[in-house]
């Protein structure tokens, strides 16, 4: 009874204590349960509690638990619970106990920088040299995290400071990799091997360079680290360049001057990322005036060698061309940076935020004067080694040209040594613009084997021009780049213009023979209208597709890559449009937006609607283009054929008309820029106005077909004896009064005769077509040219321009079907799909347009057909997705991905019925369905 009472008391006592402390006061008997009771206390370093619980218990302090099989000593070391740690050690915990990964408590203390724990563990004879399963020791852990002070203490106990992990890495390697300067110094002072290679041959310097640890590399080099490549021959410099670490490169070069040339030579290596190498060279060039000069000279030397190699016919054209252009690009980039020295009066110093030279030039022409007069500190281009290359280029072109001339003066004979000339001559015959003085037996094909009749006419069995034209053209491209980088943006160097003029004949010969040269190398044409005009007839002869590619390639040059489409849209950049006043509100927001922003991308949201994305943008262009030709604004008038439009000569009834014309031009330019089609077709003559092509009398037929016929009649018939009594003037109705307007000065008294009737027709055409709407045209073009440079649009004729702006007018169902994809269970065999296409075929052209608009947001098929349908992130085919059918469910669409969500209708009739309902009700307006 008493015993029972006593037991009860003990229990009661225990209960009270337990309740007071809010925990158990006695350890369970089994280790597994006990250890989880103790673990939280150890983690919180509640050593009294732990001590109390351990007292009288049979708990095994070395009991390993959990997934990684750690002891409580590990836990204490890891958490820095120093009191518990000591307690456990006193109770016999093994300081060298290794967990499942081979880590001892000392490893964990080192990893977490638990200084006191480390000290106590060492007192209890913890072994610092134990490796974990990856071969890491405590000093590796300290080195990784740069715990220099702890490392210093620990190193006294370490037998081998160069102890290697499984990868052969020492503490010094990991410290270098992580750039812990003091740790590196500490390890070096303790005798760590500064040139130690790991298993792949990487040294501490190699690691420092691979991570761009500038200061660490500096320390290593000052302490005499050798410059060693790894086992694959990768050098520290290679690594610095790969990572774009300019500062580290600079340090390597400071210690090993020879590496400067190696760095320059790397510009020839296709495997190295150009932007990284450029970044490095940029940094090195900004160290001092002399490094700037030296880099440019060396780059020019490498470029010259590569250019000469390119001109060697046995070299690999593609590789050499790429190499030359890459080096020249880098050269131009560095050149534009200007020297770093601030004493040249320009603010072109490198501060991470470069001022491109071109911008500096933009300020004023005065800067050009600075550039030429302060030339002492700037790079002197006239003594650049590149001059050698330009000289060779010039000599090559002269060589071809003189042989050409000699042969022309001596066309009949085919003397030895004039093979080039005969080839050139043949070329001229192929060019209809040049006289054809030789027999017509030459086939139109350009096969030289067929043309050549005598063995002398072979140039070593091959054709010199086809061998050299590409190579010389690529060097010309490089020459243009170098000339341009010395000029303010948008200006063509007079030297280059002079060069093209000098070699006009040979260059034309090149491009006539191989027009691809224009697109591949003669980009200068697009930047210089004067030169462009010389080659225009050849360019116009090239396929529309090639010109399109060239057009967009150049138009979008400098814009972010197309894979940036998904970059987040800044809320401020969204064009917020009121649907009910779309024309006015669009005009307002577009005029407020920066042109550069609009070029980067357009995001449209209609007021009160959630929808955004490419579908909405397309709808906006579509509706807006309809509004532009809305007769209420009186901006455009319908032409005689009823489908095309041109500016209204009386548009001034709308007082703001010129502003609106500028806006209309902007919208069309913007649409073209972003490859969006608009819903307007203009008259031929208006397309000509956009292109800057003079109109002719036939264009009059679009506004006044009867009158055009009359003009035609005058031209076709002899008017000498008709007694027309025409003068160079017309009678015009000006505010109700007839007035005689002269076509040219004094025109009222100049008779129209058989001799001058062509001039009369041209002048009268210009009056009707151009002069009457000149202000409107000018305003429109002003807007259009903000997005589309005149020199670029020139690549097309008026028919092509219509195609570019408005797409294909007809919808080809076969093409549509061919370029449709199916998803969510549909395929071509599915009855619903077969019904769908049968229904589409039965639709009217207008309904097909509605369907297209319903799914894609645009009523137009892009140029090239359905295969070129665009979605939010590039090409996106028309897609039909299956949706489970419920009664009365209508088809829906996701315009961003051109997807029609078509319910699995039970019959063709239901499908047709539901589809038409959807088309007629739902092709406008967006909600997040």
């Amino acid at each position: 009874m008493e015993r029972a009472m006593e037991q009860l008391n003990v229990q009661l006592n225990r209960l009270t204590r337990s309740l007071r402390r809010a925990r158990t006061v006695e350890l369970p008997d089994d280790n597994e349960t006990a250890v989880y009771t103790l673990m939280p206390m150890v983690m919180a370093d509640q050593h009294r509690s732990v001590s109390e619980l351990l007292l009288n218990s049979k708990f095994d302090v070395n009991y390993a638990f959990g997934r990684v099989k750690r002891s409580l000593l590990h836990i204490a070391a890891n958490c820095g619970s120093v009191e518990c740690l000591v307690l456990l050690l006193k109770r016999g915990a093994n300081p060298n106990y290794q967990d499942i990964s081979g880590c001892t408590p000392l490893h964990l203390a080192a990893r977490n920088g638990q200084k006191k724990c480390m000290g106590r563990l060492l007192e209890y004879n913890a072994d610092v040299n134990i490796c974990n399963n990856e071969g890491l020791t405590a000093i590796h852990w300290l080195a990784v995290n740069g715990r220099t002070e702890l490392l210093h203490d620990l190193l006294q106990h370490v037998s081998n400071v160069d102890v290697e992990d499984a990868m052969g890495q020492t503490a010094l390697h990991v410290a270098c990799q992580n750039g812990h300067k003091t740790t590196v110094l500490c390890l070096l002072d303790s005798g760590a091997d500064i040139n130690r290679p790991n298993v792949s041959g990487a040294t501490p310097l190699y690691f420092a360079c691979s991570h761009g640890q500038r200061d660490t590399a500096q320390i290593l080099l000052l302490r005499g680290a050798k410059y060693l490549p790894d086992k694959n021959g990768i050098t520290p410099l290679d690594l610095c360049v790969q990572g774009g670490y300019g500062e580290t490169c600079e340090i390597l070069i400071q210690h090993h001057g020879r590496l400067f040339q190696t760095l320059i030579q790397m510009t020839q290596n296709d495997d190295i990322k150009e932007n990284m190498l450029r970044q490095v060279l940029e940094h090195v060039s900004q160290q001092s005036d002399s490094s700037y000069q030296r880099i440019l000279t060396s780059l020019a030397e490498v470029a010259t060698t590569n250019g000469h190699k390119l001109l060697s016919l046995s070299s690999n054209f593609e590789a050499q061309m790429k190499s030359l252009l890459r080096i020249v690009r880098i050269f131009c980039h560095v050149f534009r940076l200007g020297p770093s020295s601030p004493n040249n009066g320009n603010d072109m110093g490198y501060n991470g935020n470069k001022t491109p030279r071109s911008q500096v030039f933009k300020v004023s022409v005065w800067c050009i004067v600075i550039f030429t007069t302060v030339g002492a500190t700037l790079y002197d281009c006239t003594s650049s080694p590149l001059e050698l290359l330009w000289h060779s280029l010039d000599e090559w072109l002269v060589l071809i040209s003189t042989e050409l001339d000699r042969k022309c003066g001596d066309a009949a004979s085919s003397s030895p040594g004039s093979e080039i000339a005969s080839l050139l001559l043949k070329q001229r015959e192929a060019d209809p613009s040049v006289s054809t003085e030789t027999p017509a037996l030459l086939p139109p094909s350009l096969d030289p084997e067929v043309v050549m009749k005598t063995p002398e006419a072979y140039v070593d069995g091959q054709d010199v021009i086809s061998m050299t034209a590409n190579r010389l053209s690529a060097v010309i491209q490089a020459f243009y780049m170098c000339c341009s980088c010395q000029m303010p943006q948008g200006m063509t160097s007079p030297r280059f213009i002079e060069f093209v003029c000098k070699h006009d004949e040979v260059l034309k010969c090149f491009v006539t023979r191989n027009p691809k040269i224009i697109f591949n190398h003669f980009h200068f044409l697009l930047e210089c209208p004067e030169l462009m005009s010389r080659f225009m007839h050849i360019i116009k002869g090239q396929p529309f597709k090639d010109r399109c590619e060239w057009f967009y390639e150049h138009l979008l040059a400098g814009q972010p890559d197309s894979d940036m489409v998904h970059r987040p849209v800044n809320e401020n950049d969204i064009l917020l449009i009121h649907r009910d006043s779309i024309f006015r509100s669009s005009c307002e927001v577009v005029s407020k937006s920066a042109n550069e922003k609009l070029k980067q991308g357009i995001a449209v949201r209609f007021h009160g609607e959630e929808g955004m994305g490419q579908g909405v943008v397309r709808e906006w262009f579509d509706i807006l283009s309809n509004e532009i030709i809305n007769p209420d604004y009186a901006l455009f008038t319908q032409s005689a054929d009823g489908t095309t439009f041109q500016p209204n000569s009386n548009s001034s009834v709308n007082p703001d008309h010129l502003n609106y014309f500028r806006f209309a031009g902007q919208i069309l330019g913007l649409a073209l820029y972003h490859r969006q089609l608009v819903n307007i077709y203009f008259t031929r003559s208006f397309y000509k106005h956009i292109l800057g092509i003079p109109v002719n009398y036939q264009d009059v037929s679009s506004i006044d077909p009867e009158y055009a016929k009359n003009l035609q009649w005058i031209l076709d018939n002899d008017i000498s004896d008709l007694g027309l009594e025409l003068t160079f003037s017309v009678e015009t109705d000006v505010f109700g009064a007839m007035e005689e307007v002269p076509l040219k000065p004094g025109g009222t008294s100049i008779q129209v005769t058989q001799e001058n009737k062509a001039e009369y027709v041209q002048l009268v055409t210009e009056l009707r077509m151009t002069r009457a709407i000149q202000p409107q045209i000018n305003a429109f073009l002003q807007g259009f040219h903000t997005f589309i440079p005149p020199s670029l649009i020139q690549l097309f004729d008026e028919y092509e321009l219509e195609l570019l702006l408005s797409g294909m007018p007809e919808i080809d169902v076969m093409d549509w079907k061919r370029n449709t994809e199916y998803t969510s269970g549909y395929d071509t065999e599915e009855p619903v799909i077969q019904w769908f296409w049968e229904v589409v075929e039965s639709l009217t052209q207008e309904e097909r347009v509605l369907l297209l608009q319903f799914v894609t947001g645009s009523s137009r098929v892009p140029h090239g057909g359905f295969a070129f349908l665009m979605g939010g992130s590039g090409l996106q085919k028309f897609t039909i997705a299956a949706v489970p059918y419920t009664s009365n469910l209508l088809p829906t669409s996701s315009t961003c991905i051109n997807m029609l969500k078509l319910p699995e209708y039970p019959s063709k009739d239901v499908l047709r019925d539901r589809l038409l309902v959807a088309l007629h009700c739902g092709s406008y307006g967006y909600t997040m369905a």
């Binding site: 130690r196 060697s312 050698l388």
Partner: protein, 213 residues
């Protein structure tokens, strides 16, 4: 990884058409005789890394067209050459007589320090010889040229011609007569000296452990 060398020398091969310049280059680079050699168009290019006096030297060789019509193009390659092979054909007095012109070109257009070796090629066609060894070696002496008779067909003296020229340049660099750092010297430093051979892995650790014993 880029090629490793101590120096890069820019070489020229000049001389009249048909003397075998391209064949000499081909023999030097490929160790073969070029059977169906055509007239060179403009300037061709080849390179080979050789060992001269313990240094690795990359020879960047520009093989020029001999035909007169290419003369102005080839002349534009002369500047910045460190060495040149001036080639004539021992079976053609005409090509020998033209040497003065070629030499004048080289002396006026190339660097004044250019090292030139005169090569009497087609040594294998001794039966058709029009230019004696003695005559040519006197010419070489008068004009301070080195001289060898070579055969691109058999390969005789081809390697020697290039190496002799390279060795002379190297000597001039070592004696300080030539400064590779000077613009247009036709000489560049490589980084071979930096890429030293490493010790076999682990040997350092072993020695250290032995010390501890």
């Amino acid at each position: 990884m880029s090629e490793t060398y101590d120096f890069l020398f820019k070489f020229l091969v000049i001389g009249s058409a048909g003397t075998g310049k391209s064949c000499l280059l081909h023999q030097f680079i490929e160790n073969k005789f070029k059977q169906d050699s055509n007239h060179t168009i403009g300037v061709e290019f080849g390179s080979r890394v050789v060992n001269v006096g313990g240094k690795t030297v990359k020879l960047q060789i520009w093989d020029t067209a001999g035909q007169e019509r290419f003369r102005s193009v080839t002349r534009s390659y002369y500047r910045g050459a460190a060495g040149a092979l001036l080639v004539y054909d021992i079976t053609s007095r005409e090509t020998y007589n033209a040497l003065t012109n070629w030499l004048t070109d080289a002396r006026t257009l190339a660097s004044p320090n250019i090292v030139i070796i005169l090569c009497g090629n087609k040594k294998d066609l001794d039966a058709d010889r029009e230019v004696t060894f003695l005559e040519a070696s006197r010419f070489a002496q008068e004009n301070e040229l080195m001289f060898l008779e070579t055969s691109a067909l058999t390969g005789e003296n081809v390697e020697e011609a290039f190496l002799k020229c390279a060795r002379t340049i190297l000597n001039k660099i070592e004696s300080g007569e030539l400064d590779p750092e000077r613009m247009g010297s036709g000489i560049q430093y490589g980084d071979a000296s930096l890429r030293q051979l490493r010790q076999p892995r682990g040997s350092a650790a072993q020695t250290k452990q032995q010390c501890n014993c």
